[in-house]
C-alpha cells in the first residue's frame, strides 16, 4: 500500500482528478459564472430588504402610541394638543423629520433642531398620534410586533424644587423599537414635541400668562433591541448563500469523478488496478474539496465585494461591516464545511451507478440541507452548544455569529471538531462504497453490508471503523456531558452520574460494538497478561512486580508534570474567571464529598473506562494501520481532545496534561501489551491529583514553601527521576520474548 503514498504518487493521482474537473467546462461554469451572476442579484435583493423596512415610515403619518391607562391617555392627548396649539399660535417649530433612515440607536432621537436645517423642512403641522390603551404586557408585545410605534411606560407629575418655588414636572418614560425607522421617527417627533412645550411654557411664563399645565417635562426613552434580530437573520442569509454555493461547486465534480467513471466505462479498469480504493477515493476527494473551496473563495470574494461597496455590510452586519477579519474567519469554516459536504457527496455518488442516479440521490440531500439552513434564518435562534454538533446547522450558525461578531467558544469548538469527525467517517464510508459494484450491478454489497454483522472475525478494529465509531460517539458524549449540567445533580450524585456515562460510552459501547463486529476482544482491549505468556510463573510474577513498581514511580512523577502543564494554560480555564468567593465555595462543595466517592468516580471509574477505550479500542484501531509511535501519539491527541469538552465549558487547560498522560500510558500499554498496568497508572495519577487538591493553601505552604502555586524545583527533580526510573523499569520488565509483538 505504501508505494502508493510515496514518490509523489498520491499527489499525481490527485492531479489527474483535478485536471479532469478543472478542464471540464461545467465545473468552470459554476466556479466563475455563478458568483458573477448571483451576487448582483443578491445585492439587489438585500438592498430591497433593507430599504423595504425603511420606506414604510412615509406611507402612514399617523403614529400609534400605547398607554397603560385612560388617565395617561388623556394626559398624552392634552399634551399633544398643547403642542398643536403652540404651533397654531405661530410658535416656531423645532420639529424636523428626517426623511431618510439613518437612525441606528436612540442617538437619532436626541437630535436637537438642526441649526442650518434649511434643506430639512420643518413641520407645519404636528403628525397625528393615536393612543391605544392596554396593559403593559400587551403593549410591549405590540411594540415588538410593530403595531405600536411608541409605548409610554410611565407618566407622572413630580414636584421639582426650583429657585422660584416648587413646580410640577411631567416625568415621562417610554419604550421604542431600536433600529426601526418608523418607531424612531415617532420617538423623535414625540421628544421634540415635549421640547417645544417646554419652550412654549417658558415663553408664556416670561410673558406672564398663567398656564394650568405643568411647566416642564422630562422625557426618557429606552430602546428595545428587537429590530437587531431581524438584521441578524438577514446576516444569516449570507452564510446560507455561501454554503449553498460551496455545495453547488462540489456537486458536479463529485458526480463526475465517481458516477462519471461508471458512465464512461473507466471504473472497471480503475478497480482492476492494485491501487487501494482509499487512495483512489482520497484523490477524488482532494479534487472535489479543492473545487468546492475555490467556489467558496470566489463566492466569498463576491459577497465581500457586494457588502463592502454600497454600504450594505454596515446596514446588515453592524458598524464594522464585512471586515477582513470576518473574511479570514469565515474562510476556514467554509473549508471545513467543504471537506464535510464533499465527503457526503462522494459517499452518495459512489453508490450511484450512473450520472442520473447520482443526481437523483443528490436532490433530496440538497433539499434536506436547505431545511436546517432555513432554521438558521429564523430570528432568535441561539447558537447553543447542543446545536454545535448538528451538522450543517452548526457551521451556518457559527458563520452567522462570526459575521455579526458574537461567536462563543464552546459551540464553535463543538462545531469544528464534530464536523471534522463527521467528514472523516463519511470519507471512510465513501471509500468502502466506491467501486463496490464496479463490475456488476447485481453484486450484493450495499449500504447495509457496511454496518451489518460480518461473517468473519477480525483481530483488531480498523482505522476506518474507528472514524465511524467516533462520529457516533462524539455527539453522544457531547450531549451526555451537557446533560449532567442540565439535570442539576448535586454533589456525589453528579460525580456518580458522570462515572456512569463514562462507563456507558467508553466501556460498554466499544465492547458491544466489538462483539457485534466480531472483533477479537481480548486482543483489541489488551485484556491478557501481555508480554511473556507461557513463561514460568516466577518470571511472570517478576515482570508484574516490575510493572507495578514502574507504574507507581511514573505516577509519582507524572502528576507534577500534569499539574505544571495545567498551569501553562490555566488562564484559559473557567476557574480563572471565577471570583475568590466562588472558588472558596467550589472548594467547600468539593471537600464536602467524601474522598472515597471522589476516588471512585474521579480516579478509578475514569481510569477503567477511558483505558478500555483509548488504550484499548482506539490504540488498536490506529495500530492496525500505523506504527506504534504514531498510534500512541494519535490516540493521546484524541484522549486530550475528549477531555477538552467537559460539560458546557471548554477546558483547554486540560489538553496538555491529558496528552502527556496519554503518551505515558500509551507507552506502558504498548510495552507491556496489557491494559492493566495503564489502568493502575491512570487511577494513581488521578487519585494523586484529587488528593492534592483537597489540601488547603496553608497545608501546601508547609511543604511547598511560599510559592504555593508552583511545585518546588526540588520536588520536580524528584518527579523527573521517578518518571525516568519508572519508564526504565517498565521497559526492562517487558523485555525478552515478546509474544504479542507481531499482533499489537
Amino acid at each position: 500500500m505504501n508505494k502508493y503514498l510515496s514518490n509523489g504518487r498520491l499527489w499525481r493521482l490527485c492531479q489527474k482528478e483535478l485536471r479532469e474537473s478543472l478542464r471540464d467546462r461545467r465545473t468552470l461554469f459554476t466556479l466563475v459564472l455563478m458568483p458573477i451572476l448571483v451576487y448582483p442579484l443578491l445585492s439587489m435583493a438585500l438592498q430591497r430588504l433593507v430599504i423595504g423596512s425603511v420606506t414604510k415610515t412615509k406611507a402612514d403619518p399617523v403614529f400609534v402610541i400605547g398607554a397603560e391607562s385612560e388617565d395617561t391617555a388623556n394626559q398624552l392627548q392634552g399634551m399633544l394638543a398643547e403642542a398643536r396649539l403652540a404651533m397654531d399660535r405661530g410658535f416656531v417649530s423645532p420639529i424636523t423629520i428626517t426623511r431618510t433612515a439613518e437612525p441606528k440607536s436612540s442617538e437619532a432621537a436626541k437630535s436637537t433642531p438642526d441649526p442650518d436645517g434649511s434643506n430639512q423642512p420643518g413641520l407645519d403641522q404636528l403628525p397625528k398620534f393615536d393612543v391605544f390603551i392596554s396593559d403593559q404586557e400587551t403593549l410591549s408585545k405590540a411594540l415588538r410586533d410593530g403595531r405600536l410605534d411608541l409605548v409610554i411606560t410611565r407618566m407622572n407629575i413630580e414636584q421639582v424644587q426650583l429657585e422660584r418655588g416648587t413646580v410640577p414636572v411631567y416625568e415621562i418614560l417610554a419604550e421604542f423599537r431600536q433600529n426601526d425607522s418608523r418607531s424612531e421617527a415617532a420617538l423623535s417627533v414625540f421628544r421634540l414635541a415635549t421640547q417645544m412645550i417646554n419652550d412654549f411654557q417658558a415663553e408664556m411664563i416670561r410673558k406672564g400668562v398663567d398656564r394650568k399645565l405643568p411647566v416642564a417635562m422630562t422625557f426618557n426613552a429606552t430602546g428595545i433591541a428587537e429590530r437587531e434580530d431581524l438584521s441578524a437573520s438577514i446576516a444569516g442569509v449570507i452564510p446560507l448563500v455561501l454554503i449553498l454555493m460551496t455545495i453547488t461547486g462540489a456537486v458536479y465534480p463529485a458526480i463526475d469523478l465517481t458516477a462519471g467513471e461508471r458512465e464512461r466505462g473507466t471504473m472497471e479498469a480503475l478497480i482492476a488496478t492494485p491501487a487501494p480504493r482509499f487512495a483512489l477515493l482520497f484523490s477524488k476527494y482532494v479534487a472535489v474539496v479543492t473545487v468546492a473551496v475555490l467556489t467558496a473563495l470566489a463566492n466569498l470574494f463576491a459577497t465581500w465585494m457586494t457588502l463592502s461597496f454600497g454600504g450594505l455590510g454596515q446596514a446588515l452586519l453592524g458598524k464594522n461591516g464585512f471586515s477582513v477579519w470576518v473574511f479570514v474567519q469565515i474562510l476556514p469554516l467554509l473549508v471545513i464545511f467543504a471537506s464535510f459536504f464533499s465527503a457526503i457527496l462522494l459517499a452518495l455518488c459512489s453508490f450511484a451507478r450512473s450520472f442520473k442516479e447520482a443526481q437523483a440521490y443528490l436532490i433530496p440531500v440538497m433539499l434536506l440541507s436547505l431545511g436546517p439552513g432555513l432554521v438558521t434564518l429564523m430570528p432568535n435562534v441561539q447558537f447553543t452548544s447542543l446545536l454545535g454538533i448538528v451538522p450543517l446547522v452548526n457551521i451556518l450558525l457559527l458563520s452567522r455569529d462570526i459575521m455579526t461578531g458574537q461567536s462563543s467558544m464552546v459551540p464553535a469548538f463543538a462545531a469544528v471538531f464534530s464536523t471534522i469527525i463527521y467528514a472523516c467517517a463519511t470519507l471512510v464510508v465513501a471509500a468502502r462504497l466506491f467501486g463496490a459494484e464496479a463490475a456488476t450491478s447485481g453484486s450484493q454489497e450495499s449500504w447495509w453490508e457496511l454496518f451489518s454483522r460480518p461473517k468473519k472475525s477480525q483481530m483488531l478494529p480498523d482505522a476506518g471503523e474507528l472514524a465511524i465509531y467516533l462520529a457516533v460517539l462524539f455527539p453522544m458524549f457531547f450531549v451526555a456531558s451537557n446533560l449532567g449540567g442540565m439535570i442539576e445533580l448535586k454533589g456525589s450524585w453528579a460525580l456518580f452520574f458522570n462515572a456512569a456515562i463514562l462507563f456507558l460510552l467508553f466501556l460498554l459501547m466499544p465492547l458491544t460494538y466489538s462483539w457485534y463486529r466480531r472483533i477479537d476482544i481480548p486482543t483489541t482491549f489488551r485484556l491478557g497478561q501481555g508480554t511473556g505468556v507461557g513463561e514460568p510463573l516466577w518470571i511472570r510474577v517478576g515482570r508484574w512486580v516490575g510493572y507495578v513498581i514502574g507504574v507507581v514511580l511514573l505516577s509519582a512523577g507524572l502528576w507534577m508534570v500534569a499539574f505544571e502543564a495545567y498551569l501553562l494554560l490555566e488562564s484559559w480555564s473557567l476557574a480563572a474567571q471565577l471570583t475568590e468567593a466562588d472558588k472558596q465555595k467550589l472548594k467547600a462543595d468539593f471537600l464536602a464529598v467524601p474522598f472515597l466517592v471522589v476516588f471512585l468516580t474521579g480516579a478509578l471509574a475514569p481510569a477503567i473506562a477511558e483505558e478500555f477505550f483509548f488504550r484499548g479500542f482506539v490504540l488498536s484501531a490506529f495500530r492496525s494501520k500505523l506504527s506504534a509511535y504514531r498510534s500512541v501519539l494519535f490516540s493521546s491527541l484524541l484522549f486530550g481532545l475528549f477531555h477538552v469538552i467537559a460539560g458546557s465549558v471548554l477546558s483547554i487547560e486540560k489538553l496538555l496534561p491529558t496528552i502527556i498522560l496519554g503518551l505515558a500510558i500509551g507507552y506502558v500499554a504498548i510495552q507491556t501489551g496489557s491494559l492493566w498496568p495503564g489502568i493502575l497508572l491512570h487511577t494513581l495519577h488521578n487519585g494523586l491529583i484529587f488528593g492534592m487538591s483537597r489540601f488547603t493553601e496553608q497545608d501546601l505552604a508547609k511543604w511547598f514553601g511560599d510559592d504555593t502555586k508552583h511545585i518546588p524545583i526540588s520536588w520536580l527533580c524528584g518527579g523527573g527521576l521517578a518518571i525516568a526510573f519508572g519508564i526504565a523499569l517498565v521497559f526492562v520488565s517487558s523485555q525478552r520474548k515478546r509474544f504479542h509483538e507481531d499482533v499489537i
Binding site: L13, D24, T266, L270, T273, P274, A438, G442, S443
Partner: protein, 260 residues
C-alpha cells in the same frame, strides 16, 4: 500460467436465480492464446471478471502463476491486464496523461513508465494523437489507447474481452498483430470473442462456452476430429443445436453484434 478450477457464478435477477458460469475449469499456459468462445450471454465476460478478481465466484477458484487469487486481493492484480471493449477513456485527459495515470495506479516507476509509453506508442501507432484529448479520438484510436493502457504495467497475463468489436478490417489486423506479439513475449493470453473466424486465426486452443458451461475444449484439429466439421462456425451451430434442440440460439454472424 493461469488456471480456473470449477468456477461457478450465479446471479439473482429479481429473485430468479441465473447461473451465468457453471463449474468451469480450464488452463492456459505461457505463450498460449486461449479463445473463450460463446454466443451472447454465454458467461464469457463473467468468467474474465472472476479471473480478474472483480467478482467473487460462488465456488471454485483461480490460480495465477500457482498463487490462488481471492476476491479483494490486490497484489495479484498487478499481474493481470484486462482489456474490454466496454472500457472507456477519460475525455478530458490527453492520451499521454491517461496512460501515465494508469502507470501510477499500477505503481510503475515514472522513468520506466515513460519508456513503456514510447514503446507502446510505436507498437500501436499512437504517435499521431498522443497529446490529443481522448474525447476527440475515433473508435479505433480509443481501442488502441485501451490496449496500451492494459500493457503499461507489462502484465504476464492478458485478458482480452472482444477486443475487435467496432473495428474495421485494418483495425482488427492491428489487434491480431498485437496478440501475436504478446504470444511471442510468452504471455498468457485469454481472448473472449464470438467472432469465430477471427478466433480461428489467432487462438491456439479453444473453449466453447454455452450457458455458462464448457461444451468442448481443444485445438482446432481436435475439434475438427471430434465434430467432423471443418470450420468453427459449423461446429458451433452443430453443438449448440445438439445441446438444445428445442430453441436454437442465434449464432452471431461476422457482422457486428449488438449487446444488451
Amino acid at each position: 500460467m493461469i488456471s480456473a478450477e470449477n468456477l461457478t457464478k450465479q446471479f439473482n435477477v429479481r429473485g430468479v436465480p441465473l447461473v451465468a458460469v457453471n463449474n468451469l475449469s480450464f488452463r492456459v499456459s505461457n505463450g498460449e492464446v486461449y479463445g473463450l468462445l460463446g454466443p451472447n450471454g454465454a458467461g464469457k465476460t463473467t468468467t474474465l471478471r472472476m479471473i480478474m478478481g472483480l467478482l467473487e465466484p460462488d465456488s471454485g477458484y483461480v490460480e495465477i502463476g500457482g498463487v490462488r487469487s481471492t476476491h479483494k486481493s490486490t497484489d495479484i492484480r498487478g499481474q493481470l491486464g484486462l482489456i474490454s471493449t466496454n472500457d472507456g477513456v477519460y475525455p478530458w485527459l490527453s492520451v499521454r496523461e491517461m496512460l501515465m495515470y494508469f502507470a501510477d495506479l499500477y505503481a510503475v516507476d515514472q522513468s520506466l513508465a515513460r519508456e513503456r509509453l514510447e514503446e507502446l506508442a510505436n507498437l500501436l501507432d499512437l504517435g499521431g494523437f498522443i497529446d490529443q484529448r481522448c474525447s476527440t479520438l475515433s473508435t479505433g484510436q480509443k481501442q488502441r489507447v485501451t490496449l496500451a493502457r492494459g500493457l503499461m504495467h507489462d502484465p504476464p497475463v492478458m485478458l482480452l474481452d472482444e477486443p475487435t468489436r467496432g473495428l474495421d478490417v485494418v483495425g482488427s489486423q492491428a489487434i491480431f498483430r498485437f496478440i501475436d506479439l504478446l504470444k511471442l513475449r510468452g504471455k498468457v493470453v485469454l481472448l473472449s470473442t464470438h467472432r469465430l473466424d477471427e478466433a480461428e486465426r489467432v487462438c491456439d486452443r479453444f473453449g466453447l462456452l454455452h450457458r455458462g458451461s464448457l461444451q468442448f475444449e481443444g485445438t482446432l484439429c481436435e475439434l475438427q476430429q471430434a465434430t467432423g466439421k471443418k470450420h468453427l462456425v459449423d461446429m458451433f451451430i452443430a453443438f449448440i443445436n445438439a445441446s438444445e434442440n428445442s430453441h436454437p440460439v442465434a449464432i452471431p454472424s461476422n457482422e457486428q453484434s449488438t449487446e444488451a
